[in-house]
């Protein structure tokens, strides 16, 4: 059985994670933890392996070595069925939204529920779709196609789709990338609001410092495949280290 993490127990513990593509050593002994109801931001330059890191957490990529413990269970040695059950509890917001463009918003939201064999009645499913759409402020788009929505709206629908399974953990891959500052701010606020409404713990990948400042309880800086520095926004902004400082200028 999956055990629920206690208050001070980390919900995710990553230890010495390594992942290389050929000679390109993307992650090199990376370690970080995520506590209950915490928002941890992983900061890093483009191409530093941030997406690779969270894809390892959800089992889309297999790391070469290390360990990823999520809600008390080891992801790397999990069989496929257990991993599928675990994925119900982990929401993933893709960098490119990944909305199914052949389906309406409603079908997009129903897809994870239907495919994970969540046992709820038609009525309940309907209500859940409406509920998450209201929470992201887009109830009127229910019968639209993703292509009819703006980038910011698509991002929110994608967030709604991750929320629909009521996950314990949400992994955000650059939630504000490609959005204007105002929409970016709205998304940042939404992330904070989601934590309050759904009681989630989150790892947020970003290099948008406004979003980082708004959402982060703690920041880990990913440099050369390692967690180079950790601390609160204020701590790191005051750091003298050039590698850390460059993000805050």
């Amino acid at each position: 059985m999956v055990q629920t993490a206690e208050n001070n127990n980390p919900v995710i513990t990553i230890t010495n994670l390594c992942k290389a593509f050929g000679k390109n050593r993307v992650l090199d002994n990376f370690s970080i933890t995520l506590d209950q109801k915490e928002n941890v931001v992983v900061l890093g330059r483009s191409g530093s392996g941030k997406s690779v890191l969270i894809k390892c957490i959800i089992g889309l990529l297999a790391p070469d070595s290390g360990s990823i413990n999520v809600l008390g269970e080891e992801i790397l040695t999990m069989d496929h069925d257990t991993l599928d059950k675990m994925r119900v509890r982990i929401g993933f917001l893709f960098q490119s939204n990944a909305l199914y463009d052949s389906m309406t918003v409603r079908q997009n939201l129903e897809f994870p529920m239907r495919r994970h064999w969540i046992e709820i009645s038609q009525k309940e499913a309907e209500d859940r779709v409406k509920e998450v759409l209201e929470n992201v402020g887009l109830a009127h788009t229910i019968d639209m196609m993703p292509s009819e929505l703006s980038g910011g709206m698509q991002k929110r629908i994608a967030l709604a789709r991750t929320l629909i399974l009521k996950p314990d953990i949400i992994l955000y891959d650059e939630p504000t990338a490609g959005l204007d500052p105002v929409t970016g701010k709205e998304i940042s606020n939404l992330i904070k609001q989601v934590r309050e409404t759904y009681n989630t713990s989150s790892i947020i990948i970003s290099h948008d410092m406004k979003c980082v400042k708004a959402t982060a309880d703690r920041i880990g800086v990913l440099i050369n495949g390692q967690c180079y520095a950790q601390g609160s926004y204020a701590d790191l902004a005051a750091s003298n280290d050039k590698n850390v400082n460059q993000f805050f200028e």
């Binding site: 889309l60 994925r87 893709f94 990944a98 909305l99 199914y100 495919r115």
Partner: protein, 256 residues
């Protein structure tokens, strides 16, 4: 021995395609089956190709007849036109042309669709939503293409023969009954069966190559375009190669 670079690329690609095919047979016969998506794909792949296939089939029959006529008149075997047309359409032109049209429409469609799903991470999103994307996307499309192309070819053959009838009628009035009688007198079971069987392989090849190219699309919109394009090229080539093999096999088996 040193293998030249182009040869290496070819061998790597061939290896990857074979693995992809093996994966298809591995996944296709294990539950859970994606019936709903399969039916939907049959509709998308088969039904939506109907108008195009019907139109090209009709033109093919008409034009073939009109082109054949002068030569056959020269040889004084005008009366054999229906027989000639029937044989060439049913045995070769119908299946191959339809398969090529199918490769152009469906092969590129699948390549572009799966390619853009790969690039925009929709395939990853399916995977984390408790879905085996290979089963859901690839197996259903390949199976639908395999089942639908033979049906399209049968329909195209029939329409071509009707086009042929109109072609005959342009210069000499012939009764439809007579035309049809002549057509079916010429056609034997041994003409129909190999032609019918090879269309399954055509459909399978087009579906599989389209999926292979799309599923392994490289990042970026340019990658999607490349997938769609090479899906058409490779699947058209595959149609000809299968056709070549089919004629050899029927030859060896003596059903000619």
């Amino acid at each position: 021995m040193e293998i030249p670079k182009a040869g290496k690329v070819f061998l790597t690609e061939a290896g990857a395609l074979s693995r992809f095919t093996g994966w298809f047979f591995h996944e296709a016969f294990r539950p859970r089956y994606e019936w709903r998506e399969f039916i939907r794909q049959c509709f998308m792949i088969g039904f939506k190709s109907l108008p195009l296939v019907a139109l090209t089939g009709f033109i093919m029959g008409l034009v073939l007849t009109m082109q054949l006529r002068p030569t056959l008149v020269d040889y004084g075997v005008e009366a054999r036109i229906p027989a000639m047309v029937a044989l060439s359409i049913v045995r070769e032109i119908g299946p191959v042309i339809t398969a090529l049209i199918f490769a152009g429409k469906i092969g590129s469609g699948i390549g572009a669709e799966l390619g853009s799903m790969r690039v925009t991470e929709q395939i990853d999103a399916m995977e984390v939503s408790g879905t085996n994307p290979y089963k859901y996307l690839v197996v259903t499309r390949v199976a639908a293409a395999t089942v639908m192309l033979p049906l399209l070819v049968i329909m195209s053959d029939a329409i071509s023969l009707y086009g042929g009838y109109l072609g005959v009628n342009i210069s000499a009035i012939t009764s439809f009954d007579l035309y049809i009688t002549q057509v079916f007198d010429t056609l034997h079971f041994s003409d129909l069966l190999p032609a019918f069987i090879k269309t399954f392989f055509f459909g399978f090849a087009v579906g599989l190559v389209g999926c292979y190219k799309g599923y392994n699309s490289s990042k970026g919109t340019e990658g999607v375009g490349r997938s769609a394009n090479s899906a058409v090229v490779l699947s058209s080539l595959a149609v000809f190669i299968i056709d070549l093999l089919a004629v050899q096999i029927t030859d060896i088996l003596g059903i000619n």
